[in-house]
């Protein structure tokens, strides 16, 4: 029997993870990235890592991903600059039920979410304004990762296993008699037994080229960074009630933004409203950030499965596999989801 051939569309965290695990098991894998690595949401996010989800499937993926971060860094010999300094979800009273149900669900998986009082939060983040929230749910093993080395490291691991990673190579799916034949690029047909759609915000279009209906919602999110400070902020802070977040990068910048809004068409132009909302949120939460200058602002786009969950699995077209719809949580879920899809494909 000839070698298993897989084409992955999308060079983000999920696509590269799937490519890596498939190649590790001996498959012949090609990755097609329409622009360059880091162009999509995997290169534009703020690197928050948590398992605090309201869904068992997501929790499983997130827990497995945290382990994979450790395993993969050793395997590909690349430091992702991961800081497990905790993930803090804060909220006002109205959102108590939401946080409670996350915490109780996680208990089933043996994961402890600490409910901190305001003094305990002050210990974690001394300059925080405790009037800015009522509740604090803390996952001490969560944290912050620098997304760029994650992608660089995965790509490096892939290449070491013989995976071909093509950048600036848009690809469409070629289907014949209800099963995939491969992908079409400008330089011709690349034959494949399986095609994995890991195209993030562009997944709907890729799916359409395979003749498979996919109705992921597309979101646009603005993030910004300030000038850098010495180590100041350890945990990643997510405000559930204000839909905003901030953390400190390894370079010392305060990175943050407000949760994105749904859009009809992909565009990556920066917006003023989210920047202002974020500035209000950040300076209210940590008043000492007031004098800091914002250095850069950018936009990332991501997709979310229409029922609010990732889309992972086979489709009506034989050999066409979905691996998309992670919403804002690609960094928390993508590694494990890639591994899962690799396993599914290998079992077929």
């Amino acid at each position: 029997m000839s070698e298993l051939k897989v084409a992955v569309i999308g060079g983000g965290i999920a696509g590269l993870s799937a490519a890596y695990f498939l190649a590790k098991s001996g498959a012949e894998v090609e990755v097609f990235e329409q622009r360059y690595l880091l162009y999509g949401a995997s290169g534009r996010n703020s690197g928050g890592l948590t398992v605090q989800f309201n869904d068992e499937e997501l929790i499983k993926l997130a827990l497995r991903s945290l382990d994979l971060y450790d395993e993969l860094q050793s395997e590909v010999k690349f430091n992702f600059l991961l800081r497990k300094d905790g993930y803090l979800k804060i909220a006002n009273k109205n959102d108590e039920a939401k946080l409670e149900s996350e915490a109780s669900l996680l208990k089933k998986f043996g994961v402890k979410i600490e409910i901190l009082n305001q003094n305990e939060v002050k210990e974690l983040v001394p300059d925080i304004n405790t009037k800015a929230f009522d509740l604090a749910y803390y996952f001490s093993k969560g944290g912050t990762v620098f997304p760029w080395p994650v992608i660089w490291g995965l790509a490096r691991g892939c290449k070491a296993l013989g995976v071909k990673v093509y950048d600036y190579t848009p690809a469409t799916v070629v289907v014949e008699n209800g099963s995939v034949k491969g992908v079409q690029t400008l330089d011709g047909l690349h034959k494949a037994d399986f095609v994995i759609n890991a195209a993030g915000a562009w997944s709907n279009e890729v799916s359409k080229s395979a003749g498979v209906e996919l109705d992921n919602k597309i979101f646009k999110e603005n993030i910004c960074v300030t000038e850098s400070l010495r180590p100041y902020l350890d945990p990643y802070i997510f405000d559930v009630s204000n839909n905003a977040y901030l953390s400190q990068s390894m370079r010392g910048e305060i990175v943050g933004g407000v949760v994105g809004r749904e859009i009809d068409q992909i565009d990556k132009k920066g917006e003023l409203d989210p920047l202002i909302r974020y500035a209000k949120f950040a300076t209210n939460l940590i008043p000492k950030l007031k004098g800091l200058s914002v250095l850069r602002q950018w936009v990332g786009v991501y997709d979310l499965g229409k029922n609010g969950k990732p889309v992972i699995g086979f489709t009506k077209v034989k050999g066409f596999v979905q691996l998309n719809g992670f919403g804002r949580h690609g960094m928390s879920l993508g590694l494990a989801a890639g591994e899962k899809v690799a396993e599914m494909v290998l079992k077929k």
């Binding site: 690349f78 430091n79 600059l81 850098s228 010495r230 370079r251 000492k288 004098g291 914002v294």
Partner: protein
Amino acid sequence: MVKTEMGRLQEHPILEFKRGKEVTIYFNGKPIKAFEGETVAAALYAAGVRVFSRSFKWHRPRGFFCAIGKCSACMMEVDGIPNVRTCKVYVRDGMQVKTQSGMPEAENDVLSILDDVMDTVFPHGSHYLKFTTSKNARRFIVNQLRKFTGFGYPPKAVYQGKAGYEEIETEVLVIGGGPGGMSAAINAAKYGAKVLILDENPFLGGQLVKQTHRFFGSAKERAGTRGIKIAEILEGELRSFKNVDVRLETRAFGIYNGEVGAHQKGEVDKLLRIKAKKIIVATGAYERTLVFENNDLPGVYGAGGVQTLMNVYGIKPGNRGLIVGSGNVGLILTYQLMQAGVEVAAIVEALPTIGGYFVHAAKVSRLGVPIYTRHTILKALGKKCVEGAIIAKLDERWNPIPGTEKKFDCDFICVAVGLSPAHELLYQAGCEMKFIPELGGLVPLRTKYNETTVPGLYTAGDVDGIEEATAAIMEGRICGIHAAISLGYGGKEAEKELEEAVKELDEFRAGPFGQKVVVGIKKCLVEGVKV
């Protein structure tokens, strides 16, 4: 000889320095005398401070450089607030200023040893590749790396500025109050448009305020007048219009779909949201630098930094300088330095001929400054600041010829090798851009009325191609009138003036010095929609 006192020029043949009340600021705890109206960076410079910060990774010294809030080398902690650009903040009695990088402080930084060893131990990018195989090794290295990261210390105090917010609607918004911007504002306003003009500096005039020399060009465009005087004339005219709102110390940070975000400093720190029907970007240019060994040493300046220090604050940049570049800026600066009693060791020019106008070169030669054509700077000497420089002759392939090195003693080096357009806002706004060497870099495609590919967004001055202030004023006139006409003002009279203005600019550029610009503009000219 020009008298100096406390590092400050006391008499100047052209300029008069009005200094405010004497105050005391504290630099790393040490009292330093300064005068109201001076920026912190300028006052420190006058007091002889040369190392302002240390670089992020190698802990190399960083000093006074751009003087206009762009380069971030002068960032310090001021009254507990980190990362303050000290070249943009004015002294106040009792102000506490601290360097924020270096151990224990920037001047005497024990970590400067990293400069010698870092590359051997940690070559570029190696922090991703070393200590990767075990979880504990990675955690250790991430924790260590994190200790060395960051620039300022975490803020010790809450910023005391009051926050404000203002929504403004205007017909024409002009970003940048230099010659191009002021001219655009005047010409849009004179036909009746409601105009708002912003400038990030506390004064209007842009780079004109440093130009103590007389201008060339057509008599109509104020040839024979000194730059500083032109700024005054334009400002006077601008301020005579009731329909012009001038906001200083106001920085536009983004153009978002016809709406502009800006930050206005003052007693109340204001966020401005400006809705404008027409936007004219006149943000000017940045100075270019050159690649040579130690080019980051304090004492290596751009011409603009030196001019600001000397002509705006009346502070002596040094005792003996070396000028790199013999374009007009280099030549004029040489003359200005000598006016201020500063010795100029030499002018170095890579081209076989002097770049600037003959009159300027002749003036400099009369003063006895040697000009080394076909030479380049190889290296700046010194550990914490410039103590000398080595230059060498170039062969036909622009390589230094061994054995031709010359050493100069100097305490500063001024790099005057041209400008690049400050194009960020245009790029961010979505204008179609093109790299055009003749115009100095990345510039927007535009119509002959200087409207970019984003409808209603215009440019004037160096931001759309490096020329002189005269051309900037003419471009400002063209796009100002065009903006007014498109808003329905001015009628036939304005249309007539517009065509005249276009013709005049074409004629101005038809001269021998405009050839390069004409070639460049052809490459980025697009057909516009007729008004």
